[in-house]
Amino acid sequence: MAFRAAMLRHIRVPVQNLTLKRPILQSWSFGNPTRSMSSHGDDHLDREEVIERVLSVIKDFPKVDPSKVTPDVHFQKDLGLDSLDTVEIVMALEEEFKLEIPDKEADKIDSCPLAIEYIVSHPMAG
């Protein structure tokens, strides 16, 4: 095993920097060659993207006034929603980021900062 690891480390092939000419920050697309297609959690979303997508989900919620939505709103205090609306928003966020949040944890998410924090730190958010 140790020998195999040493071999694998030794024989890695340097690739010339043909692929490095592209700008690092690219909007997501299927043609993006730097996007990892693996599922082992080393492809974290960056914070800006999470914030943008969380806000767009909340703005699309029918009972919400889109102009009031900022990254630090509380769903019930600032947006005038009730607790069941919060449940619906959390479910919409789960669908947007392809997550499955355990019931108890999902119940605690009641504001935008908490939602963003949870999704940013979740290894499987996609």
């Binding site: 480390r9 340097p14 920097n17 490095l20 069941l84 479910m91 499955e100 019931d103 999902a106």
Partner: protein
């Protein structure tokens, strides 16, 4: 004083039970719905069922309603719910697992000028 505190604690517990019941019921509604447009109507019906008892004040009556709701939900639970692929029970669970610890993934493709 302590009466007020126990009242509030009981209310908080009831609210949490309702939220979790609504969440599970909503998920099962999505599981049962074959198409998205069917889900919207079912979800709205579900919401109406919850809204109908929004103004109940009596604690015992609320407990009874929640218990009824939970029993009802248990009856209509989906036998094969949707599970996100990476989660236990999902179609991609434990596929393509993390490589063993001896192997590194070199993300800079061997480029050496960024030291």
């Amino acid at each position: 004083m302590s009466g007020g505190a126990t009242y509030l604690a009981r209310r908080a517990a009831q609210k949490e039970r309702v939220r979790i019941l609504y969440r599970r019921a909503l998920k099962d509604t999505l599981n049962w719905a074959v198409h998205r447009h069917l889900f919207y109507r079912d979800a709205s019906d579900l919401r109406d069922k919850f809204e109908a008892n929004k103004r109940v004040e009596d604690l015992d009556a609320i407990d009874r309603l929640i218990a009824d709701g939970e029993a009802n939900h248990n009856k209509f639970r989906h036998p094969d719910p949707y599970i996100v692929p990476w989660a236990p029970g999902g179609s991609k669970f434990n596929r393509n697992p993390t490589p063993p610890s001896g192997i590194e993934i070199i993300h800079d493709y061997g480029r050496e000028d960024n030291a």
